[in-house]
């Protein structure tokens, strides 16, 4: 399908790179994300993230002003680091750059190195781990920022080669509920693991006696240090071939075998994940999960007539779209448009992989799209439903079709942080929600008022 080529962007279907880095840093125990840039970036991202997770999200900033933009932001960054150390008691500070500091040419690794030396000279021996990552907003989306931060953490912290009987699980950007589920699955295989990042607690924490300065939970730094000695790495994402990921680094640098796989949504992709776990652990899939798979297949059958031939537009982060598309094909929904604001260069090929031989037709696949373009294409495709984050609501409303909310951000519904997408269980939940969204639509449209669908 032809797409018009616009210069301007209207209603972007992506976010900026440092946001992804901040989210990744948030998933490490005792970590405070910090942006080297002007104050607004941190505040805007906090607000965006808080609106989804409904949790505190502190992002420190080096708060650069005009003179720092001219003379360099080093002194502010150092002061900021010191303040975060002093008041938050951070075990790790993850420093991500912004377009401002990349463009003025601040050498952040150098500044941090200087900072370490200065601290040492002034007698401060116990420094938190300081991780830096380059995330200029003018190159790549929040997902590149997320992966870059995870890689930076591993590159800069994993120093222990000694054999660690465990699995490195690099899930990418999933929900806290997804992360809890993944932990449960790996635990059920009785296999030790480290999940990086893990914001299942830090971005979805319980009510406590106090508002913690840094929320508890997150991947322990000690575990990250040992990732180089792990038995294997599972890394989710179908479009990461050209991305410098943590999994690739661990493979290349430490020889930890990398198993790249799609985000496990739908039966086929989840089978790959469970299959890899079976192989690694030498154990069969625990009965609990085998039963969940059985019930999922059973409900595929129960649902199939509601879904067959329904046309779906799927949008969002590339890897999430690929996984959802794979699942939709399995239940007879026809994905007609797969769109993302990202530009991995691998999107089309990944969609082809999951639709070939199962979808009645290949969907239109487009990278680098905004909602203006998605709307123009969608109008010609007469979709029955939209699947994606809540920024597609306006389009769903215009088209008069249901939107099934998944991923990030969910700014117009409650519980976005607790949406389960992955595994047999997550697929079950998605299936139920999709069927019900379609049933609700046809029920509301019917003049009869059926009370029995």
């Amino acid at each position: 399908m032809e797409r018009s080529s616009y210069t301007s962007t209207t209603n972007a279907c992506k976010l900026c790179k440092p946001l992804g880095a901040c989210l990744a840093f948030r998933g490490i125990e005792g970590a405070v994300p910090m942006l080297h840039g002007s104050q607004g970036c941190a505040t805007y991202m906090r607000r965006y993230i808080i609106s989804h997770f409904r949790e505190p999200m502190d992002i420190a900033s080096s708060s650069l002003g005009e003179k720092h933009a001219v003379y360099g932001g080093g002194p502010n960054l150092k002061q900021g680091l010191q303040n975060v150390m002093a008041k938050f008691g951070a075990k790790l500070i993850g420093v991500a750059t912004t377009c401002l500091t990349e463009t003025i040419g601040d050498d952040v690794p150098m500044i941090v190195k200087e900072f370490r030396n200065e601290m040492r000279q002034s007698g401060v021996l116990q420094l938190p781990a300081l991780v830096t990552v380059s995330t200029p907003s003018y190159s790549g989306t929040h997902m590149e920022g997320f992966h870059a931060a995870v890689r930076a953490v591993v590159e800069q912290l994993s120093d222990d080669r000694s054999c660690a009987h465990m699995l490195n699980l690099l899930p990418g950007f999933l929900s806290p509920e997804d992360l809890r589920y993944l932990k449960e699955v790996v635990d059920d295989f009785r296999y030790p693991s480290v999940i990086l990042p893990d914001f299942s607690m830090t971005l979805d924490g319980p009510a406590l006696e106090d508002c913690e300065k840094i929320p508890r939970g997150g991947t322990p730094i000690e575990d990250i240090r040992r990732m180089g000695g792990a038995d294997a790495t599972f890394e989710f994402g179908s479009t990461l071939e050209d991305c410098q990921t943590a999994g690739k680094y661990l493979d290349k640098h430490f020889g930890v075998v990398l198993h790249g796989m799609g985000i496990p949504i739908g039966i086929r992709e989840t089978d790959v994940f469970f299959g890899a776990l079976e192989q690694l652990s030498g154990k069969e899939c625990p009965e609990k999960h085998a039963l969940e798979k059985g019930r999922l297949i059973d409900s595929y059958v129960d649902a199939h007539k509601y879904l067959f031939g329904k046309r779906a537009v799927v949008y969002g982060e590339e890897d999430m779209v690929v996984a959802l598309t794979s699942f939709l094909c399995e239940v007879g929904i026809t994905p007609v448009l797969c769109a993302s604001g990202g530009r991995s260069g691998r999107f089309e090929q990944a969609i082809e992989r999951v639709t070939a031989g199962i979808a009645p037709q290949s969907p239109a696949v487009h990278e680098g799209m905004d909602f203006q373009e998605i709307e123009e294409l969608a109008r010609g495709l007469s979709p029955d439903l939209l699947i994606g984050h809540s920024k597609g609501y306006t389009l769903a409303r215009k088209l008069g079709i249901p939107l099934v909310r998944v991923g990030f951000p969910i700014h117009d519904r409650f519980g976005g942080q607790r949406i389960l997408h992955v595994g047999y269980r997550g697929t079950q939940s998605l299936l139920d929600r999709i069927v019900n969204a379609l049933l609700e639509g046809s029920q509301n449209e019917s003049p009869v008022g059926y009370a029995y669908m």
Binding site: T10, I50, N83, L100, Y138
Partner: protein, 454 residues
Amino acid sequence: MSTAEAVIFKERSGQIHRKGQEPFEMDCNRESLAGAVSQRACVFCGSRVVLYPIADALHLVHGPIGCAAYTWDIRGALSSGPALHRLSFSTDLQEIDVIFGGEEKLYRALTELIDRHHPKAAFVYSTCIVGIIGDDLESVCRRVAEEKKIPVIPVQSEGFKGNKREGYSAACKAMFRLVGTGDTTGIPALSVNILGDFNLAGELWIIRDYFKKMGVETVANITGDGRVEDIMRAHGAALNLVQCSGATVELAKMMKESFGIPFKRVSYFGVEDMAQALYDVAEFFRDKDPGIIERTRQLVKDELSVLYPELQKFRKDLEGKKAAIYVGGAFKAFSLVKAFRLLGMQVVMVGSQTGTEEDYRDLHEITDEGTIIVDDSNPLELAGFLKEKECDIFVGGVKERPIAYKLGVGFCDHNHERKQPLEGFVGMLNFAREVHCSVMSPVWRFVPRRKEKA
């Protein structure tokens, strides 16, 4: 040392004052402290909030995608007609643009968007990176304005060039380019412009309606349900009413200087300030129309006779409860202090992101002994204050909400995302209802920190 003091940065101690402990003195309007997690945004944010509600203008953000993405349709500024402001336009600058300059891309994006949407004017916002690579916005805008025959106005809102205040100023300068370019025929003697009201949840319509009942016509809403043509003829109004003075008083001053239009500072929040605003307007026009005083009295009386009995119901439950306030601009804080008093509640902490020394001095005047007054605070401090003062409710925005909730403290959204009007007399009732529904909720008895007390 109290928990709050433990988290206060030495550098920030001058920005916190406890009434009664020492004579009033406060530092403010300082750069945010690095690493302190300020709740402030940037220059761009300041410009964007002020200009955003101009609904028939194109708002193009010249920069990488984040600045536009994070400001896409997040504010509740309603429009009675066109809604171009709810779309998020960006040049989405890429690395190559940073290297070779983004002027050509800006030109093409502007042309494309103007052709598609036919706006009455276009605002082009500069972002951090544009300030560094040095794109000449002025010349691109001039070129497009000539070609497309609409005003195309650059907004000097590079994020790092100050804080929100500088952004307000850039927005005022941008709007002032429009003022005085339209036809003022037909504007009656009793006429006002409304500045610094953003028509959140339709608030401005409530206020306009009051003025209409008083016999006063609103020429331009300017910053709420705004229209380019209204702003162009705004210089024909007899009086400018400035709410949220931090944001728009500069425009009022420019209009006074160039067109001789006097201005009055007002607030439409709470009963006292709302009534005062109406009386001030009536007083201003009494020479031209003596009957306006009586009409205004009647209006206030009618509204209050409905409002007061309703408020008493809430007051019964809320009497003696403690409130904390942290808002963007200080003007809102004054009205809130008074509004809480009307509900029988005590304000124990009040702060703002960008208040002036004068603002804080005035707050100091109207608050009770022991009240904490704070400038440019951060989550650690705010959490400390809430705990120390054992607050029942916190008023703020999205970023403050989780602090309250994690501490088991009620919360009232008083920011730009709100979906119900809090201005006007009816707004006071909504405010009371919202405070009541949070303070009186049974959920707090389950929250660990408040379990025993409840």
